[in-house]
Symmetry: C2
Subunit: 362 residues, 2 copies
């Protein structure tokens, strides 16, 4: 994963200054984040902050192509001795929908490794919808820190510079996550409605397991088209999670699931593929049409996966019942989990996923 | 609490139509929510959707006066046989800050009673920042439903109409919550960063306990001024919770806590007053200045409350340690709990609060 970043360039090394000999508060010096380590991307082609190089895949549905430019699940990792971390970044001009925070859509959040665990350190608040400059954390104790900065989930990251004290060192860190586990899914995978990027469920899975969960969530557009199956087939991956029941119609679930899985299976004959039913839609607590539709889709999906399982020992199914808890408080809008819903979901599916992956040496 | 709504007016009764005899989908008829039951307000004076009548309290700090116009914690309750619920509403022109959703700031969420429990039914999405008309839930089974619609937490509700099927009945419901427990506090009490109004912590406490928790959260402005103490003193209440350490400076905590409590105590000599320390600020995980300041405020608050407790057997202190859990994932921005943080906080403080209130017959 690190190979695409070669050695430190001279322009980068010139940023490593001596400490301020007058004991003044150090000025902030910025470095282009492309000189650091990008994680969360399965194939490093095309624009740096796009999840996929959609130019190379002209047949993708238009909505998927647009969403692949969003930096959901991508993060920058680096080491620094700085007492503060700042950021200058520009995104597309999207504005948050009513069910998301600006922080999740176009902001960033920083984690720092401490006691062998990633701990929250600060947020980069988007004050405008395009370009911003903010301090993420300050007044940190001396010493080297390994940092992980999650990028905006629902917008394109156009540019990013990381700011540190002028006397501090900053250098790329190694990718902290092993293997590639691709998660294909809907807005729920992309990050709605986590309150900030690092709380999206693939990002939490990565931090909590040390495995590299690749976010291929496409809001409203994970409909199992055959061109998407072909694209996923071409990726280098150790496992695949399919959380793609929420977006297609019941008929699409019925007619597309087998082709989708079979297409990917051709190029990845032995990897574990984990299919997850759609979480409950709390919108269906009283809306009987919504409830019936989700039930139908989950039943179709289960039936299709079970048929395939007869000849595929590496295909798994996770049932969705109870994933959001029993009190109906786990969603923002009856559709997308809030941080509470995501936490409940992870408490259940994380051990299931790890148990499935373990015999594969993952 | 119900007394200010007298009998149904004729204009209201005229809305109760016969069922559509052609079996067509019923048209939506709107009724002004002021003809239904408002809950969450401790004193029904002044503008209907303002939490407090600030005209009657000219000495209040300017920010508190402005925030008292926000409808945080207010809800409309009613009974209806309608198969759908719609809303037309107008708010002030505030736009969400980066750490909140539009749904929380200027949207609404509906709960319906089922199996003796309030269950999520739908959201009213704000499509614009001022006036909106949306369907909240549809396709509901026949029968009478008791509904509870939480109003916007971070904006003024200027007008609200509830829409039902033209053939359905709609009438005010009784206030489902007993007693008045006022919670005075910061943005965290007001509702930041719950993902929708009904998930703010006072609203959750009301639904989960059947007690009427009154939201006097004033974002950034709960600084224990003596004029605020006088205002709170004048309210009719059965208990008071003080969650007001986050906003004042350490010096203000030290110099204002005793006067604030003593002022209120004069008019409420025997009610339980529960003081809560500030939750951890995850922003202080690495920012040593933030961590030190929160610790100092909590220590000052504890010391002041303990001094008062020597002569006040009805004053209680809840320590904040561990309220957000141990993984630092319980906030949106290092300051405000997300729905996960609020859930963890409630799991701990709800039983503590109930245990304190129980001997008072509350």
């Amino acid at each position: 994963m690190m190979s695409y970043i070669s050695v430190l360039t001279l322009s980068f090394l010139s940023l490593i200054f001596a400490l301020d000999s007058f004991g003044q508060e150090a000025k902030t010096v910025f470095i282009d984040a492309r000189e650091l380590t990008l994680v969360g991307k399965v194939r490093h082609k095309g624009p740096f902050y796009h999840r996929l190089d959609t130019v190379a895949t002209p047949n993708l549905p238009k909505a998927v192509k647009a969403l692949a430019t969003h930096s959901a699940g991508l993060a920058i990792t680096f080491e620094t001795t700085s007492s503060k971390i700042a950021a200058k970044w520009c995104t597309g001009s999207r504005v948050p929908t009513d069910n998301m925070t600006g922080l999740a859509v176009e902001g960033m959040d920083l984690y720092i490794k401490r006691n062998d665990r990633w701990q929250y350190a600060g947020v980069a608040r988007p004050k405008s919808h395009e370009c911003n400059e903010v301090e993420i954390v300050a007044n940190m104790a001396a010493g080297n820190k390994t940092c992980l900065l999650f990028l905006p989930t629902y917008d394109e990251t156009i540019s990013l510079q990381i700011g540190v004290d002028s006397g501090a060192t900053i250098s790329p860190a190694g990718n902290p996550f092993k293997k590639n586990i691709v998660i294909y899914g809907s807005s729920i995978v992309q990050g709605a409605s986590a309150s900030r990027p690092g709380l999206s469920y693939p990002a939490r899975l990565s931090r909590e397991t040390g495995l590299n969960f690749i976010n291929l969530g496409f809001s409203g557009s994970a409909k199992m088209e055959i061109d998407v199956a072909n694209l996923i087939s071409d990726l280098s991956m150790d496992a695949l999670i399919l959380d793609c029941v929420p977006n297609p119609s019941p008929e699409e679930v019925l007619t597309r699931t087998a082709d989708f899985v079979t297409t990917i299976r051709k190029k990845h004959p032995k990897i574990p593929i984990i299919a997850i039913q759609s979480i409950a839609r709390e919108k269906g607590n009283f809306d009987t049409e919504v409830a019936t539709k989700v039930l139908l889709k989950n039943n179709y999906f289960e039936a299709e996966i079970k048929k395939l399982q007869k000849h595929d020992p590496n295909l798994y199914l996770i049932y969705a019942e109870g994933l959001l808890g029993g009190d109906q408080e786990g969603t923002t809008d009856g559709i997308h989990p809030n941080d509470l819903g995501f936490d409940r979901m992870l408490q259940k599916i994380r051990p299931m996923i790890l148990k499935i992956l373990q015999p594969y040496g993952i």
